[in-house]
């Protein structure tokens, strides 16, 4: 009889129930879409943020402290430790190798510009096809690691040792422009582009790695490697690992090692490259974590607000239903129905509306998240299917919460008032 009542009640008041269901579905759509984006946004954002620079810097052990003052390195290159250029492919061979999306070596050296004084030459790869141990080729170089570098003119050719970029500040100081010729420690070069990064590079000359190696007389050596890696936002575990990974328990270490935290990838690079000290660039890593964290909080707040307004919508619609069906409720009471039996019917209706709205919302939400992701990131985002039961349960809870106030109205309803229309 209970199910018959429920079914008949749905058939009878279909319009209002459809409206309630759609209200819940709307909130569930938003919840599902934001849940999907919230999970996927970390990867997408990390990818997007890689355009703003590397997030791991690899230097020789003992060289992690830079003695550069005002753009001039006070340490002479000779006698300092360096890394082997030949070890670079090892970085692309670690456990999280798929997350390494760019790397570039750097070797800086003070050069004499003849009568124009001294300057800093930063040798690097511009766009270099790095052969991998497995025979593949990986596109390395600053053009992937530092996509934010603004070059006016042209990028130097990878194999052209006489082509350089001139930092814009230095170009202004020297009064030189594109096409100018320079002599770097007696090596003639030609300026093919002007570089603006907003950083130290603006007051330096950026040239091919081989040129810097030749001037510094350190063939096959580099002073630093910058790595762009896709990482997940930092957590309490990764922060502890950052301070001391030896202090982690075995289980914690396994979780940390198998998660693409920036500290994990840095740790694995240190394991792979001899004499290397890999340090996350914390400003970048922490900034990413903070931005993604704030976005997720924002999404959670929006979802909460959506569910809250859905609860209010359901409450209004169900209150209207209770008022409309006051005689029926009064009759049920007069026939001896307990409050629990009457509430069970109305709450079951609410739960059914919540479940239907929740499932509908999950479907729409999954589609909406794909649309948003395509619009914002230009590609799809994986749907976390675990969100389907969670969002559905949330929708049911919201519908039941919406039914709480009407349930109070039911409890207060006096049969004599609604059946006889008098006290």
């Amino acid at each position: 009889m209970f199910w018959r009542l429920l079914r008949q009640s749905f058939l009878q008041g279909a319009r209002r129930k459809i409206l309630s269901g759609l209200t819940v579905a709307l909130a569930a759509t938003l919840g599902m879409a934001l849940a999907t984006l919230s999970v996927g946004v970390g990867d997408k954002m990390a990818q997007e943020m890689r355009a703003y620079g590397a997030n791991i810097r690899v230097v020789p052990k003992g060289e992690s402290l830079s003695l550069a003052v005002g753009g001039l390195d006070l340490n002479p290159l000779k006698g300092r430790e360096t890394l082997a250029e030949a070890d670079l492919p090892l970085i692309k061979d670690i456990f999280w190798h798929n997350n390494i999306i760019g790397l570039s070596p750097f070797l800086d050296v003070q050069v004499s510009l003849g009568d124009k004084g001294k300057a800093r030459l930063i040798g690097t790869w511009f766009q270099h096809d790095m052969p991998m141990p497995d025979g593949d080729v990986f596109a390395a170089g600053v053009r992937t690691v530092a996509a934010h570098w603004q070059v006016e003119g042209a990028w130097p050719g990878e194999n052209a040792e006489d082509q350089v970029l001139l930092g814009k500040s230095l170009a202004r100081r020297l009064g030189l422009g594109i096409g100018a010729s320079l002599s770097l420690d007696a090596h003639p070069v030609r300026v093919v582009g002007l570089l603006e990064t907003g950083g130290d590079e603006d007051s330096a000359i950026i040239g091919p790695l081989a040129l810097a190696q030749a001037i510094a007389n350190v063939p096959g050596r580099v002073r630093a490697i910058e790595v762009s890696a896709l990482t997940v936002p930092e957590t309490e575990l990764s922060l502890r690992a950052r301070h001391n990974s030896d202090a982690l328990t075995t289980a914690e270490y396994d979780v940390w090692y198998c998660t693409a935290y920036v500290s994990t990838i840095a740790h694995q690079i240190e394991e792979a490259v001899v004499n290397a000290s890999a340090r996350p660039i914390w400003q970048v890593a922490a900034g990413e974590g903070a931005v993604i964290g704030k976005m997720q909080v924002l999404m959670a707040v929006v979802t909460l607000a959506a569910f809250l307004s859905a609860a209010m919508g359901v409450s209004a619609l169900m209150t209207a239903t209770v008022v409309e069906r006051a005689r029926e409720i009064g009759l049920m009471k007069a026939l001896g129905a307990s409050l629990a039996e009457i509430n069970a019917q109305f709450l079951s209706e609410a739960a059914a509306i919540g479940a239907a709205g929740g499932l509908l919302g999950c479907g729409f939400g999954a589609l909406l998240s794909q649309g948003i992701s395509a619009m914002v990131f230009g590609q799809s985002v994986p749907v976390p299917w675990i969100a389907v039961p969670l969002v559905t349960v949330a929708a049911i809870v919201v519908a039941l919460a919406g039914a709480a106030y009407p349930a109070r109205t039911i409890a207060r309803l006096a049969p004599v008032e609604v059946l006889y229309g008098r006290k």
């Binding site: 009889m1 006889y420 008098r422």
Partner: protein, 232 residues
């Protein structure tokens, strides 16, 4: 003396009344709707409660059907004291002891005649379609079991309402102006139905303005200004 005492003791124990009111009062603030009302109704009696508007008939009916509580006095229903009962206990008494017949029928519009009866069974114990169909047959509506209230005439709806009041075999049938919304023909049918129920030994109390019912009923209780008129 001893013989007289023995004779009294030898009398059969009188069956307790279905309704026993002792000094029953009901006030709404300063307004006294019922004042010191006392009467009793025996099992199988057919009693009409009559009186002009504002005499307290409806207030009395609400208390008798356990939809309201008296502010003074005592109401025993089938030997059970009802004063001081909470809502849940009142609901239990209603489903177990009382069958209600309404002037406006109050059938659930989206349920069939049969389902309306089964709903009362459901709240009482367990829905039994066979028993519900038999009750509809009893009021001559077996062929209308699967019709919704909107598909039934006023008289038919009232007969469904009466069948619903009977379905759980209550100790008392309380009817509020059962013919108030019916034409003469249907009024006659309903009155005949009540007569038949009385002949079956049912205890019936009905509130009515209709003098015809006064003549059908075994006894009439008259109310005026919240008090009983004459002897109950």
């Amino acid at each position: 003396m001893n013989a007289a005492v023995s004779a009294i003791q030898a009398l059969p124990e009188p069956e307790h009344p279905v309704i026993a009111l002792k000094g029953l009062s009901r006030s709404f603030g300063a307004v006294e709707a019922l004042r010191e009302v006392s009467f009793s109704i025996r099992p199988g009696e057919f009693v009409a409660i009559m009186g002009p508007s504002g005499s307290g008939k409806t207030t009395l009916l609400n208390i008798l059907s356990c939809l309201d509580r008296p502010t003074g006095g005592e109401y025993l229903l089938d030997g059970i004291a009802t004063a001081g009962m909470d809502e849940a206990e009142q609901a239990r008494i209603r489903r177990e002891k009382i069958g209600l017949v309404f002037q406006q029928f109050h059938l659930i519009p989206y349920l069939t005649a049969l389902e309306n009866l089964m709903l009362a069974q459901h709240y009482h114990s367990i829905a039994d379609a066979g028993a519900a169909r038999a009750a509809l047959e009893r009021v001559g509506l077996g062929h209308r079991a699967d019709h919704r209230p909107s598909q039934l005439s006023g008289g038919e709806q009232q007969r469904v309402c009466i069948a619903r009041a009977l379905i759980n075999e209550p100790a008392l049938i309380l009817a509020d102006e059962p013919t108030g919304n019916l034409d003469e023909e249907n009024e006659r049918v309903i009155m005949e139905l009540f007569r038949a129920l009385h002949r079956e030994g049912r205890t019936i109390v009905l509130v009515t303005h209709n003098p015809a019912f006064g003549s059908v009923a075994e006894r009439t209780i008259r109310l005026a200004h919240g008090r009983l008129e004459g002897r109950a």
